[in-house]
């Protein structure tokens, strides 16, 4: 007898380009990427196409925001290549958080990583905007009033 690992594995397999969650739908789960990667896409305000917000990889989580704020999905997530995803029922997690609040720590770490990444992007975009403004109007004051910095 020759042993091999049989095919079945945990989670759901998505083909490349397949939608995992859609912007605007109700949120019942958060997700963990077991294998592969996914693209986070948001419909642009003008309605012309979608913007790629970022790409998540193995062991990353997504969909957790909607689980906590009870709002609809803020983005569409699609498989980028063959991907295996585990869904985690929102009620299971919320119930477990009441029993063991420390379980939130790993979720918060993922959210913190994302906030840091967003902070850097915001700063980069502001710098680019400032540079563009100063190039377009070199005679005007280059100081730009900035709102409060993104939170730490």
């Amino acid at each position: 007898m020759l042993f091999t690992l049989t095919d079945p594995q945990l989670g759901t397999i998505y083909k490349s380009g397949e939608t995992i969650v859609s912007q605007g739908e109700e949120a019942e789960c958060l997700y963990v990427i077991l294998e592969g990667q996914v693209d986070i896409l948001v419909e642009s305000d003008s309605g012309e196409g979608v913007e790629l917000l970022g790409t998540l990889h193995k062991d990353d989580m997504f969909g957790e925001i909607a689980c906590f704020d009870h709002k609809k999905r803020s983005a569409t997530v699609k498989a980028n290549g063959a991907t295996r995803i585990l869904s985690i029922d929102r009620k299971t997690i919320l119930k477990r958080i009441h029993e063991d609040p420390t379980i939130v720590f790993n979720l918060m770490r993922h959210m913190s990583d994302r906030i840091r990444m967003l902070n850097e992007e915001v700063l980069t975009l502001r710098r680019q905007l400032r540079d563009r403004n100063s190039q377009e109007s070199p005679d005007q004051s280059t100081s730009v009033e900035t709102p409060e910095s993104p939170s730490e």
Binding site: F3, L5, T6, Q9, L10, S87, F105
Partner: protein, 444 residues
């Protein structure tokens, strides 16, 4: 008795309870900026095949545990997952019914606790990894030290510190000693002899056998379902066949005797799941492990705590999940409140007591099931109720969910009881049971 920087912790036993305790101790310590030296004493090489590497259980990782471990950042790798389950098939003397997962996804894993069944090592390296070895390695990645030595004795030294004695090392004193020794006889006696009042829990025996089918027959016969047999055989709590790659794991729970085992194997209901012409191999990899059905006494003392099967575990199901649910509170208590008897009693023991109380509800549920199973109309009523629920896509499936959670170990027995007491379930069961008096039993 707080754990300060460089505090030393000994975990005796490197199964799931011990490994997860070490893992969470290191993880939580890192979060609060504490350095701990955690030693896990485990002489077994879990990657070995046969009894020497095995911790002897059915090898199911429940749906809820998969979710919780994933949330903790502990993904079970593909090489450890031998097979996956998305359906439970309940078999009774009057027919069977399939209960599908509520989410259309593979969410329950079957694993080998050790390196695999005896005899599998004719092919090395094996394509799979041991679950227990994986967990122990996760603890080591967090900084725990695996000491592959058998603990020969335990004592308390002059400073009041628990001391571990092994054959190959000098006696080592620790600030905290965790007993995660399972139900192995000599190790249990060591803790009982320490004199703090520990007594091992009440146990019963199970029967576990790894039956070689070949992966094609496993796929064909078991079809990614766990098959649970609720038969009217005296002394049988339940039996189950679990798909595991090239093997089907047979578990029998009840008053284990050779007679009971042979009656289960000879049952036409069970034989239908075997490949045609297939006979039980002579001496398959099999064992009669003891399983915990009660709670041990005096589980904590100053600088000492017991955890896992030697303390309290979930009744009949999800022992690995029980290890997770207690190892984290134990680690949290030790780090945030200290390791005195008072701290452990105040913050860790209530979790053990909660599990024990839930197990008492579990005992009642299983006893009720044994009773109802013996009554034909009730048995048929249960089958019909579940069939009706499964046929109604998207409807409330209270009985299906209760049975699913019972046999997956995904919910507490208290939650399962509340589902069973739902008025819809009681009404449907009553009506279907009454109607079955006038109808022939139907096969699905």
């Amino acid at each position: 008795m707080e754990l300060n920087d460089n505090a030393r912790i000994a975990v005796v036993g490197g199964g799931p309870a011990g490994s997860l305790s070490a893992f969470f101790l290191q993880s939580l310590a890192e979060r609060v900026g504490l350095t701990l030296k955690v030693d896990v004493y485990e002489p077994r090489a879990f990657y070995k095949t046969g009894p020497s590497g095995c911790n002897m259980c059915g090898g199911i990782i429940s749906e809820s545990l998969i979710e919780l471990l994933a949330t903790e950042g502990l993904q079970i790798p593909s090489s450890v997952v031998i097979d996956t389950i998305d359906t439970y098939t309940l078999h009774t003397d009057d027919g069977h019914v399939r209960i599908r997962s509520r989410l259309d996804e593979m969410r329950i894993a079957s694993i080998f606790r050790g390196g695999g069944p005896r005899g599998a090592d004719h092919q090395l390296p094996l394509p799979w990894d041991s679950f227990d070895w994986f967990l122990l390695q996760q603890a080591c990645k967090r900084g725990a030290r695996h000491i592959p030595e058998r603990v020969k004795a335990l004592s308390i030294n002059e400073q009041g510190l628990p001391t571990v004695h092994t054959k190959g090392m000098e006696p080592s004193a620790y600030d905290f000693l965790i007993g995660a020794i399972g139900l192995g006889g000599p190790s249990l006696k060591m803790f009982e002899k320490m004199g703090f009042g520990y007594e091992q829990p009440e146990t019963t025996k199970a029967f576990v056998a790894e039956l070689y089918y070949g992966d094609q027959e496993v796929k064909h016969r078991l079809n990614q379902a766990m098959h649970v047999f609720l038969l009217t055989i005296p002394g049988l709590k339940f039996a189950a066949l679990i798909p595991k790659g090239h093997y089907a794991t047979l578990i029998i729970l009840g008053e284990i005797t050779m007679d009971l085992i042979q009656r289960v194997l000879a049952s036409p209901v069970v034989k239908r799941i075997f490949p045609p012409g297939w006979e039980i191999p002579v001496q398959p990899c099999q064992c009669h492990p003891r399983i915990t059905i009660g709670a041990g006494k005096t589980l904590v003392a100053d600088r000492i705590a017991m955890i896992g099967d030697c303390a309290v575990s979930r009744l009949y199901k999800d022992g690995i999940g029980a290890a997770y649910r207690l190892s984290k509170p134990l680690a949290l208590t030790a780090i945030t409140h200290g390791v005195s008897k008072e701290s452990l009693a105040q913050h860790y023991l209530p979790q053990c007591d909660r599990m024990d109380r839930d197990n008492r509800i579990g005992h009642t549920l299983f006893n009720m099931d044994t009773l109802f199973r013996s009554i034909g109309p009730m048995r048929r009523g249960m089958l019909e109720t579940v069939r009706q629920e499964q046929a109604q896509a998207g409807g409330h499936q209270h009985l299906s969910a209760a049975l699913w959670d019972t046999f997956t170990g995904s919910s507490s027995y208290q939650d399962i009881l509340f589902r069973l007491l739902h008025p819809t379930v009681l009404a449907r069961l009553t009506i279907k049971s009454a109607l079955s008096l006038f109808r022939k039993p139907q096969q699905e």
